[in-house]
Subunit: 78 residues, 2 copies
Amino acid sequence: MKSTAIFYHAGCPVCVDAEQNLAAALDPNRVNVEIVHFGDQPQRLGEAEQQGVKSVPALVLDGQVFHINFGASLSDLR
Amino acid sequence: MKSTAIFYHAGCPVCVDAEQNLAAALDPNRVNVEIVHFGDQPQRLGEAEQQGVKSVPALVLDGQVFHINFGASLSDLR
């Protein structure tokens, strides 16, 4: 079964680097990656917080949160 | 051309999670991933520091450093 990954970001330079390099390097045969930009989808901040996302960029892979470097706190995005 | 990635870790639980999930999800057709465990290869601490690695686990992808969550500072591993 394919893994599900959600990459949360906020358009910051650190986020864009992580998206274009790390998220883009995931195996498309094994992982379905959804990209969520909080600038476009602020209503998903709550969902991200509930999963344990504290900052962006973050990748939630099968429910496990990986914070990748540090762009911005979720609390600063509200 | 294939990307080159080095995943640095120190055997900590946070490191193992990142290795088994995030590093393992990279596309093997596009990325050659080398796993470096500082417990086995302490002589590579200097190389990691020179690339900008501050803590483990970290993934260096084509020279760009991605710190993934936080397991331990490199300075604590010396």
